[in-house]
């Protein structure tokens, strides 16, 4: 009976799960879903090439042909914002979830075993926290040279520390709980206890934090591109677009303003998901651990 209902009611169960979601999770998922779809189907939504320069149509205000206007070299701003979704969401995703993967693992192991490993990790974390995040990233980029590969390397070197801190703190609490002791008494190896038994119970706080981190990373990438250290023009990255329109802000407000609005919209959607997840998991939401 149970097996039958399970097999038959999968869509229904999914619908019931969504109905239980807090409203911020629903709204946030809808926003991010819409943004992802717009990014994937950008060629179907807009007829213009984001790189095509039409010098007959420079600095045109928003109109029905160009809903977000055109920039100083006649490119359609709406197309560039849409194609920008692909760049910003992709970099934001990898800069968030790659460091999260090994940061959580390191923090969990460190919290579980303690000892020399833990002491070393804590000193490393102290040093990483002493530098303002952006300053450390900029210093690393000054060594490697500007560009997306440098951003990835810099963030991968630094950003794991926040997840390690979170996972370690959770593991210190979890380590003494009965189910962990039970698993150890059953003779399971430490790796199995940490990753199969404890990890599912400590991952939620990192998942909640990862939504804020995603926002921070999109702000980081667009900020670096704005400073000329990130994604290089003419690629349609949102921060780079704001920088390009900066000299024309008083004559053509739309070039800088609308890509920036895309960042705010995306960030709000992600924050809403984070807020909803923190309610669903019963976790306090935090921006910085």
């Amino acid at each position: 009976m149970i097996a039958l209902t399970r097999g038959w009611s999968l869509p229904a169960a999914f619908g019931a799960e969504i109905r239980r979601w807090p409203s911020s999770l629903k709204v946030g998922s809808a926003i991010i879903g819409a943004i992802l779809l717009a990014g994937i189907f950008a060629p179907l939504i807009t007829p213009y090439d984001p790189y095509y320069q039409d010098f007959m149509k420079t600095l045109q205000p928003p109109s029905s042909a160009h809903p977000f206007g055109t920039d100083m070299v006649g490119r359609d701003v709406f197309s560039r914002v849409l194609y920008g979704i692909r760049i910003d969401m992709q970099i934001g995703f990898f800069t968030t979830y790659v460091p999260m993967t090994y940061g959580v693992m390191l923090g969990a192991l460190s919290g579980y075993f303690g000892g020399v490993l833990d002491a070393t990790l804590m000193r490393l974390l102290d040093i990483a926290v002493a530098f303002p995040f952006l300053v450390l990233i900029i210093v690393i980029i000054s060594i490697l040279g500007p560009g997306v590969p440098s951003i990835y390397i810099a963030v991968f070197l630094v950003a794991w520390s926040m997840y390690a801190r979170l996972a370690r703190a959770e593991m210190l609490i979890e380590r003494g709980k009965d189910y962990v002791l039970a698993a150890r008494t059953l003779g399971y190896g430490p790796m199995r206890v940490v990753f199969r038994h404890a990890l599912p119970n400590i991952i939620n706080s990192s998942i909640v934090f990862s939504m804020s981190d995603f926002v921070l990373n999109i702000l980081l990438v667009s900020g670096l591109s704005f400073l000329g250290l990130g994604v290089a023009p003419p690629a349609p990255e949102w921060g780079a677009m704001v920088a390009e329109g900066r000299d024309f802000i008083f004559d053509a407000w739309w070039i800088s303003t609308l890509p920036g609005l895309a960042i705010v919209f995306t960030g709000t959607g992600l924050s809403l998901i984070g807020d909803g997840l923190s309610q669903r998991f019963g976790q306090p939401q935090r921006s910085l651990p």
Binding site: F131, F133, V135, I138, V264, D275, R286
Partner: protein, 313 residues
Amino acid sequence: MIFIDYLLRRLIQMVPVVIGVSLVAFIAIHVVPGDPIEIMMHGRAKPDVVAAARAELGLDRPLPLQYLRFIGGALIGDLGVSIIQNAPVADIIGERLGPSVFLLTYSTVLAVIVAVPLSLIAALYRGRLVDHVIRFAGMSGFAMPPFWVGLLLMLLFGLYLNWFSISGYGKTFPDHLRHLFLPSVTISLSLAPMLVQSLRAAMLEVLSADYIEVARSKGLTPRRILIKHVLRNALIPVITILAVNIGWLLSGAVIVEYLFAFPGLGSLLVRAVGFRDYPVIQGLALVFACLVMVVNLLADIGYMLVDRRVLKE
């Protein structure tokens, strides 16, 4: 006596971090792919000039010796010489430290003025419409890139209203306040949402404490409870929350200083990276890290003075 003891322990704890931080700053210049001197001079200098610059920076000596020279110099305020600007790094950084600290203090004050009442309202009306509106506004504010907010403020105030200057630093104190208003508002708009989020949680905790219940049962007016009991106890975490967010504040300042062409440490960093001026980058990395550490130490001391219970632990 306990106070001195605590302070000493805290300072000793900082030593390994300072060494680690200085190592990171030191190593930075040595892991540059290729020759940092060649890169700094953009490959246009003659070989003897390059050799002279290398000797000037001490790059021809063994690494441990170089590190000792670096840390020894840093301790007496000597951070080396900028090849690009032909001036001591400590002087270049020194003349920009004041304006940056002014900007950071100004932004923090503005952010606290906005965040305290908002978090109090959100905590008092928990789960009601006002609370949700404040939370949503916080999320949107958190997602706003500072360079974009700054640009919009420039557009609004600089062009249409013409109330505030949109760049520079000014000469007198009132002049500073006027010149720095827009950059400070920009930074505080990204700091305030973080403050509201943490402060709201802190106030909720205070509101559910036993002594608030006692104050209520004594028949004190809600207004008096709010000001004398809730606010005073909820303000203590502000110190800690500000210290935790100092790195975030400095990161925002880097971008905002660049946007407003402000003569501070952040805009210097961006420019130094553009010129690949490695001695300046190295010095700035050290100074930024020290700023964070000093602020955290001051916060600890401040917290201890306000709340003596810390000492007993």
